[in-house]
């Protein structure tokens, strides 16, 4: 059953390296066709009578064998429902895997879909289809030959069954050779074109070859070959990094150099960008220093009394290390949302597509349904970017809906942030417990019964996924017992199940203004796991014994059954505390908790924990149209901080426990200290107002922030905090085995160790932490993935990404709703200047938590910008950071794709601008 063949490869890698590899060729790999009687196989994948769409050029029943490039570039075709019975060779799969991870994932999904009847055939290990690389044959040629050999084999093998095979290749040379071998071969265009029943497929055809029709006289530099790049990278001539297109200028970008933090290379101009698309991994070459440039946003203006030399010198200072892209190491192309640019000629088939992400260039696509697609959000994929084209070439994938429609825009938002939002599959739903769900005897035995305790939950109004609850009980010895009860999600989500996979993939629940994309199905999130009042629920409980001074004497962890006595909102809880008439147990508990929380908070602040701020808003949504009718900033009450305090305490306690138990694989959360340079804007502002600002440690920062109060501007402190928040680093999940203990530090909370434990319904890291803790207290069995340090870290990275994306999506949703709110309105609002830039002001309107830019470009001739103190002087008006202003808010609808909120300064009033020439005169007069 085993045929073996050994070959020796020798590679030279500086020193001589002997490589020995084995390659076993087998005779037990079967063709996988139902039509075949010869192979003693089971589970045939390919159908007996392949019902492929009738092709005009090849009417016989057939299987198709796509070659590598077809799989790589024409996935949208292959994924179509009507494409069935394809044979994906291992040679092809391997190549795809090396060249594009997303494409590999997609083709794998197609293979695993039983309706597609895609067979993956392991031709490399089959004794008849294996080909050895011949001397002087390139790897590509060898692979092409392997594909042809396999196709030929299938043809011969299936000869008696009447089913034919077709090789799909876009490589002319390959096609000719295939015909010589007697294999039927077509290009994809030929094949798809002949499918008369499915004309829409043609639109999805990717453009593999640059057609001359797109020649716009643009000639971009050729990319350097891979071998050359490798050599260049080694010698240091080229640098590798990720390409980040500029948001504001499509001709500029920066490259973040790999492995070197804070090193960026600036790129400018079409030739320098050289067909790189946002997020691609590229190789760049530095330009000589004399050719260095600076971003055009830093426009150099004439400054009074400045000589040419000064100006040059100033320009010199602005210059950044500049380079040019010489090659693309890895494309990170994905599918993009956007719209088609309107065209004049109705029947034209070539269109320009404008992605909604500004960093992505326009994409040229070919479609015959342009008239349908006008005014619609569509999804487009990039296929290639030939060097004679200004724009990349792509093809249409699908349409989402009408532009401006809230559903469509939400969809765009989710797609753009890569948030999985399809409804839960049946496999996932099958994992749910059957209703009515009852607590069994066995459950009771395993858990501590805490149903007698006066437990209550405090949450924002309208919250249905209650994942935490609290209790407070004075003890006889004068101490108090405080408990935090967290929904026991891991009881329902067992590792390895479909529901676990799905939750892990989603990573977090995403909150949009009018929509919540759950991490776990609603039955769990809003019912079985939600710690609602007056029902028995499973919980994971942390109980501390504390002194009245909030010193922890002991900590216990247990799985429990609780029965919450009340689910309160923050306001309700606040009322209970404040209303001295209420003397029931609940009110007293809340008061006790509140007192402790204040002590805890004080202790935390003393240690240097920061209280930061970011403007948060709530929309009042019209119940019928679901459009926002009012915006208010979120109010913070004492009870908010009370709940927060105990959650923090629980998180820290759990973090310590799991780290102690699993020093190598605990899932923790860290918040790195920001480099002091990050705080420059805050320091500048504070010092401009006469405050000493020290940022050496989080404690110093907290003190500085606390002391910076302006009586005439009570909002000043909040703004300073908002500003400071923006200087922070991102907090990250990580696996404790991957970093030294010193780096576990949580800067914002001034805690040496921290994790997330308290929201397992909406965060997957908490689920992991629950599992770890359960193992640590012997309440549950461990399982392999839980203790695998590398896998855990990989998972943490994924969760960080999801977390970030969810945040971005949330913000985008706020922006979207703000836009809808201001649509057709013009309001004049109070605001504060957050930043002063050379040619613009950033203004925050606290009422809406809305931030916008006031453009000052039109005043550029009378502006004077003081870089040191960030003070802008326009005529007689002096604008400083944190100044109170009045702005007019309206929606700029001039660009249908990028509608945005427009701010106009109303007060202080800026001088009327006259036309250019008089100004100059004025200047001269001066």
């Amino acid at each position: 059953m085993l045929k073996s063949k050994i070959f020796l490869k020798k590679t030279k890698k500086g020193s001589i390296l002997k490589v020995v590899r084995e390659h076993y060729l087998r005779d037990d790999i079967y063709c996988g066709s139902e039509a075949c009687d010869e192979c003693p196989q089971k589970d045939e994948v390919l159908e007996l009578r392949p019902q492929n769409p009738s092709s005009e050029i090849f009417p016989d029943p057939h299987y198709i064998i796509p070659d590598t490039n077809v799989v790589l570039h024409q996935l949208d075709i292959l994924e179509d429902k009507c494409m069935k019975n394809a044979i994906i060779l291992q040679t092809v799969l391997d190549e795809v895997r090396h060249r594009s991870a997303p494409a590999y994932k997609r083709i794998k999904e197609a293979i695993s879909n039983p309706d597609k009847h895609f067979l993956s055939f392991v031709n490399e290990f089959h004794k008849d289809t294996y080909v050895e690389r011949q001397p002087r044959e390139t790897a590509n040629d060898r692979n092409d030959r392997a594909i042809r050999t396999a196709a030929k084999w299938f043809q011969t093998h299936l000869f008696n069954t009447g089913v034919k095979v077709i090789l799909l290749t876009n490589d002319a040379d390959n096609k000719v050779k295939a015909s010589q071998d007697g294999v039927t071969a077509f290009t994809v265009a030929e094949y798809v074109g002949s499918l008369k029943d499915n004309p829409e497929l043609l639109d999805r055809l990717a453009h593999s070859k640059p057609s001359n029709a797109f020649d716009e006289g643009v000639q971009l530099p050729e990319h350097v070959s891979i071998a050359e790049v490798q050599k260049g990278l080694k010698s240091g001539r080229y640098l590798q990094g990720s390409f980040q297109a500029s948001r504001d200028n499509c001709l500029e970008a920066v490259v973040f150099i790999q492995d070197k933090e804070d090193v960026t290379v600036f790129l400018q101009g079409n030739a320098s960008l050289n067909r790189a698309v946002h997020e691609d991994v590229v190789a760049v070459e530095m330009l000589p220093e004399k050719d260095w440039s600076y971003p055009s946003s830093l426009v150099i203006e004439d400054v009074e009394g400045e000589t040419e030399m000064d100006k040059e010198a100033r320009k010199e200072k602005l210059k950044q290390p500049t380079g040019k892209v010489v090659a693309i190491i890895k494309r990170k192309w994905r599918q993009y949302c956007g719209m088609l640019l309107p065209v004049i000629i109705k029947t034209a088939t070539r269109h320009l597509f404008v992605p909604s992400e500004r960093r992505i260039p326009k994409i040229r696509i070919e479609t015959r349904q342009a008239h349908i697609l006008q005014g619609q959000r569509v999804i487009v994929a990039i296929d290639s970017w030939p060097k004679n084209s200004r724009y990349p070439l792509g093809h249409f994938v699908r349409k989402l809906g009408t532009i401006g429609d809230k559903e469509t825009e939400n969809e765009v938002l989710l797609l753009e942030h890569d948030i999985p939002h399809v409804p839960f599959s049946t496999a996932v739903l099958n994992c749910l417990p059957k209703l009515p769900w009852l607590i069994t005897e066995e459950d009771v035995k395993k858990r501590t019964d805490l149903r007698h305790l006066h437990i209550c939950s405090v949450d924002p109004p309208g919250c249905t996924d209650i994942d935490d609850a609290l209790h407070y009980k004075p003890l006889d010895n004068g101490n108090v017992e405080v408990g935090v009860h967290i929904a026991d999600v891991t009881h329902f989500i067992r590792p390895g199940t479909a529901i676990d996979e799905e939750a892990r993939k989603r990573g977090t629940t995403v909150y949009l203004i009018d929509k919540r994309i759950d991490m776990v199905p609603e039955l769990l999130s809003s019912n079985l796991c939600s710690l609602r009042s007056n029902v028995d629920r499973f919980a994971f409980t942390v109980i501390w014994e504390m002194t009245k001074e909030a010193e922890i004497i002991s900590t216990r962890f247990m799985k429990s059954i609780i029965n919450s006595k009340a689910s309160l909102t923050y306001a309700e809880a606040q009322m209970k505390i404040d209303d001295s008439k209420q003397q029931d147990e609940l009110a007293q508990s809340l008061r006790g908790l509140n007192t402790l929380a204040k002590i805890l908070k004080q202790g935390r602040t003393d240690k240097g924990s920061l209280s930061l701020a970011s403007p948060e808003v709530r929309f009042h949504i019209d119940s019928e149209t679901a459009d926002p009718i009012d915006v208010v900033s979120k109010e913070l009450m004492e009870t908010n901080s009370m709940v927060e305090e105990f959650m923090l305490l629980a998180n820290v306690s759990v973090a310590k426990k799991i780290y102690e138990e699993f020093p190598d694989c605990a899932v923790l959360r860290r918040h790195p200290s920001p480099p002091p340079s990050n705080f420059k804007p805050v320091i500048n502002v504070a010092e401009a107002r006469g405050f000493d600002f020290c940022v050496d440690s989080s404690k110093d920062l907290a003190n500085s922030l606390a002391s910076a109060q302006l009586t005439e501007n009570p909002y000043f402190n909040t703004m300073l905090r908002i500003l400071a928040t923006r200087c922070m680093m991102q907090a990250l999940y990580f696996c404790s085995g991957m970093l030294p203990y010193a780096e576990f530090h949580h800067y914002g909370l001034a805690a040496p160790i921290y994790t997330h434990f308290t929201s397992p319904i909406r965060r997957y890291p908490d689920v992991l932490v629950h599992r770890l803790l359960a193992v640590a207290i012997q309440a549950d069995a461990s399982f392999p993935e839980l203790l695998d340090k590398k896998k855990t870290q990989a998972l943490c990275n994924h969760l960080n990404y999801r977390h970030k994306m969810a945040q971005y999506a949330g913000r985008a949703s706020v922006a979207l709703h703000t836009l809808l709110f201001f649509k057709n309105k013009v309001l004049i609002e109070d605001g504060y200047v957050m930043f002063v830039r050379k040619n613009a002001l950033t203004v925050l309107i606290p009422k809406y938590g809305l931030e916008g830019i006031v453009k000052l470009a039109e005043y550029q001739n009378i502006m004077k910008f003081d870089d040191e103190n960030t003070v802008q002087t326009i005529g007689d008006v002096i604008i400083r950071v944190f100044d109170a202003v009045k702005v007019e808010v309206s929606v700029d609808q001039s660009n249908i794709q990028h509608q945005h909120i427009k701010f106009k300064l109303v007060s202080p009033q800026l001088p009327e601008i006259e036309e250019g020439p008089p100004l100059k005169k004025q200047k001269k007069r001066k």
């Binding site: 050994i6 002997k18 084995e22 076993y24 291992q90 391997d94 090396h98 392991v122 290990f125």
Partner: protein
Amino acid sequence: MAGLELLSDQGFRIDGRRPHELRRIQCRMGVFGQAEGSAYVEQGNTKVLAAVYGPHEIRGSRGKMQPDKVLINCQYSMATFSTGERKRRPRGDRKSQEMTKHLQQTFEAAVLTHLYPRSQIDIFVEVLQSDGGNYCASVNAATLAIIDAGIPMKDYVCACSASYIEDNPVVDINYLEESSGSAELIMAMLPKSEQIVLLQMNSRLHEDNLSKVMDMATQGCKDVHSILDTAVREHLTSSIALQDSSVT
């Protein structure tokens, strides 16, 4: 770039084997004239030569002499050309010393040591080419050499490695799989009685998977045993045929 895919979705390993398949094993016995027993084993690309001398009077320090059983003296060495990059020292480095110790323990458990008190058996193992599973190939070769030398043993000692790759136990791992960082379990056993003589684990493996990997290794050892047994019988038959013909 995507790393190596050690186990494909179709269930093939990087060299075309399925998870439960051993590499090709080839062996010869009696390759040296001088030694009492000798054998050469190829397990895939791992090639090992073993020679056994003795039992004979204790050489070197007599202090090592054991009054009730034979002293088993092993030496494991790797030829300088056996690895990808040339080795500086063929023996005496930490790794070889460890290997030596392991071999010694393994064979002390299997050889009927009480039969030869106060004497010594030398087992020399030389790895000519290394492609993973050095210990296993060494043990298998040494077993053959001991059998060739006519030294009484309880049973064959068969060794086999196993690993856990992408949620699948795999047997007899080669160098690529070994260096992928996944856990490697090395097992030497007396296949007939299923007694484990040596069990070693490199890097961590979760408890739940251990039994799966152990089962895989056990099966591997038994497969190795049947291959070795066939080889021994063949060797025996042909030699006896020679002897018979000369006696008649």
